[in-house]
């Protein structure tokens, strides 16, 4: 399923989700988990009504990065990307859909879905999100022993 985003928009998306859940000393993040793949598939197959929100939002984020930080979003250092995303979160980026489905909230929601959802839908590669959370993965049968409390060493 081709992404409804163009290659540059898809690249911005990949860099943005990589800051929402970064790769760090705790392990891989949203980019490694394939969250941008999940979002592209979701926009193509399910949340088609949000494609324009993404196109406008990613374009506006990039324009903001150029104006406020002097470079395209994908070329910014991590802390400048974080600053641009915070501006987006706080409604300080012009040209972004706000209202009932504000772009940043949509992006954050989709990122969590792609990070922690079933890998069947294109994200959470190798169960990266589930490992982070301590979720052992779906299984049909759980015993009383499985449901007992345990101490975390």
């Amino acid at each position: 399923m081709p992404s409804p985003l163009d290659p540059h928009q898809q690249l911005i998306l990949e860099h943005a989700v990589a800051r929402l859940v970064p790769a760090d000393e705790l392990g891989p993040g949203a980019r490694e988990a394939g969250v941008a793949v999940y979002i592209a598939r979701t926009l193509a197959e399910h949340d088609t009504r949000f494609v324009d929100t993404y196109v406008r939002g990613l374009t506006a984020l990039d324009a903001y990065a150029r104006t406020a930080h002097g470079s395209p979003f994908v070329d910014l250092a991590a802390d400048a990307q974080d600053a641009a995303l915070r501006a987006l979160e706080q409604g300080e980026v012009d040209g972004v859909d706000e209202g009932a489905a504000p772009f940043f909230e949509l992006l954050l929601r989709h990122t969590r879905e792609g990070m922690f959802g079933d890998p069947h839908w294109g994200g959470n590669a190798d169960g990266i999100g589930w490992s982070l959370l301590g979720y052992p993965g779906p299984r049909g049968v759980w015993s009383a022993r499985d449901q007992a409390l345990a101490d975390i060493p």
């Binding site: 954050l108 779906p138 449901q147």
Partner: protein
């Protein structure tokens, strides 16, 4: 279409009970169900499909989702809270979390008891809350029959606030998890009275259906082994086995037709794009709060321009919904192992429900059941509100989630919101569904009674999780209206000036038209509604059987 004795609109929690009782008594029944038949093999372990995308709920929403009119606004918007559940044989019980609990005796007499104990000023002046025309005691035998039929597991006597029961639970409660016991101990430490949630989920094989496997994908999904007591697993097959129930799936009712004498003559419905008519001697609406109301309002005629059974202007009135505080707790250093099991595996308590505590000086009446459930899911936990000191994304959030994700649990309340003059359902004058018919428009505003009651319950939830050993507790920024727990629109009462149906669930104005479901409830109560609406449906069906000639008219 051949004539039926009874046509039922909606084969869910309420309609299926009536189909069972009526066919067992020899009546020929046709059920018009907008949704499909579903199969256990379709019930997979997938949070995105089930919870995020709501695959079971989406088709009903596409046709029936109401709009919302903010107070003072000229035009409606999308509802800011969830409203509809699902269309299917079995209805929303297919994906309900199993909670099958009786209302308290107080819930049936809220108005009179509140005034008796706290004086006239206890109730807000603009509240329309009313006593039910029937009592807990009148409903009690029907609670027992439903519990036996659907297989409710529980421990008799475990809930000291439960009304008197004349029958035992047919099954024990579900397996108790470590989290269930931890929260029970916390409640006992506070002097509260926790009990295992009564649930229609098989702790052991029952009526030929297997036991729950604690898969962790119970709510927002059907059961993959058939351990849930939804109507597709009991009432519907029982009724079909009599040979007297005909189920029409994919049938979306559009209008109740009447004859020259003003009696209901049948139901018009869409089968795909084809319009059909099902004649019947008695019509029962069982299509959930919003659709029951919409069908009456859409069935306007020359002599009743404001809708059927609406001479008194009561259809759509007395609407309310639960207001649901949610509190999260982290139990650092402990793995709760709550990412599995069933939501119906919960520890509940009624110390802060109904009038089980002194409300003097609190500024509200009523309360709600509190529950701490199992069945956490990964996206759900990662999307939960975070404590105020934690950012919502980035490395610091990731660190926090990694430290706490396996140690988080939550507890919820269901506040018994009163009904008000200004909270109601109407037809939206501009928004239409896919068939071009107006949808329901909700007006709903919380009163001070509701805000105080919700916040009071939220404080108790914090205390509870702290007593259970939480290292930190927190809640989100908003008061959550759970309008899938919706009530009213076709209120039950003795006075035709203030209600739509009588104490037996039959219209005051159209003698052979009945309404089933929580749309008839005069109060929300502070507990899950399903068992009560099934018990009320059973009572209505028995009334119909016992008074057939009087209700259906001569010639039967």
């Amino acid at each position: 279409m051949s004539d039926a004795d009874v046509v039922i609109v909606g084969l869910g929690a309420a309609g299926a009970v009536a189909a069972h009782v009526l066919t067992a008594a020899g009546r020929d029944v046709v059920a018009l169900e907008a949704g499909p038949r579903l199969d256990a093999a379709q019930m997979t372990f997938d949070e995105i499909r089930n919870d995020v995308r709501g695959w079971l709920a989406a088709p009903k929403a596409a046709h029936e989702e109401p709009t919302f009119l903010p107070r003072g606004a000229a035009a409606s918007t999308a509802a800011p809270f969830p409203t509809v559940m699902m269309n299917a044989v079995g209805g929303s019980m297919v994906h309900f979390p199993g909670l099958s609990i009786r209302f308290h005796p107080w819930n049936f007499r809220t108005r009179s008891t509140a005034i008796e104990r706290y004086g006239d000023a206890a109730l807000p002046a603009d509240s329309t809350v009313a006593d039910w025309p029937i009592s807990y005691d009148e409903l009690e035998p029907f609670y027992g029959r439903v519990e036996e039929a659907i297989g409710v597991g529980g421990t008799a006597g475990a809930n000291r606030f439960e009304g008197a029961r004349t029958t035992a639970f047919p099954l024990p409660p579900l397996q108790r998890s470590g989290w269930n016991e931890l929260t029970a101990e916390g409640a006992r430490r506070l002097g509260w009275h926790p009990y295992p949630a009564p649930a229609a989920l098989n702790a052991a094989p029952y009526n030929g259906r297997p036991a729950c496997t604690y898969c962790g994908f119970c709510s927002m999904n059907g059961c993959h082994v058939g351990a849930k007591g939804s109507p597709d697993a009991n009432f519907v097959p029982w009724a079909e086995a009599t040979g007297r129930l005909r189920v029409v799936t994919g049938a979306r009712a559009t209008r109740i037709e009447t004859d020259d004498s003003g009696r209901a003559s049948g139901v018009r419905y869409l089968d795909g794009r084809t319009e059909r008519f099902q004649p019947a001697r008695v019509v029962l609406l069982a299509a959930f709060v919003y659709e029951n109301t919409r069908l009456l309002l859409r069935s306007a005629g020359a002599d009743w321009p404001d809708g059927l059974s609406n001479e008194a202007g009561q259809v759509g009135r007395h609407y309310t919904a639960h207001v649901v505080p949610v509190v999260w707790g982290a139990f650092r250093g402990r793995r709760l192992n709550a990412f599995n099991g069933a939501w119906g595996q919960a520890t509940c308590l009624d110390d802060w429900n109904s009038d089980h505590f002194d409300h003097d000086g609190l500024g509200f009446v009523g309360g709600g059941m509190l529950s701490a459930p199992q069945e956490l899911k990964p996206i759900g936990v990662a999307s939960a509100p975070v404590p105020p000191s934690v950012p919502r994304w980035g490395s610091a959030w990731k660190r926090w989630l990694s430290d706490n994700g396996a140690s988080m649990g939550y507890a919820v309340g269901q506040f018994d919101a009163l009904t008000y003059e200004h909270n109601r359902l109407e037809l939206d004058p501009t928004v239409r569904d896919a068939s071009g018919e107006p949808v329901i428009r909700i007006s709903f505003e919380l009163g001070e009674n509701e805000e105080r009651g919700h916040d009071f319950l939220r404080d108790r939830l914090h205390e509870w999780l702290e007593a259970a050993g939480a290292t930190e507790t927190w809640h989100g920024p908003t008061r959550f209206v759970e309008a899938r727990h919706a009530y009213g629109g076709t209120r039950m009462g003795d006075d035709p000036a203030t209600s739509v149906v009588d104490r037996n669930g039959l219209s005051h104005e159209v003698p052979n038209l009945g309404v089933l479901g929580a749309s008839t409830f005069p109060t929300a109560a502070g507990s899950n509604p399903t068992l009560t609406l099934q018990a009320v449906a059973w009572r209505t069906a028995v009334h119909l059987v016992e008074n057939w000639d009087a209700v259906a008219g001569a010639g039967g």
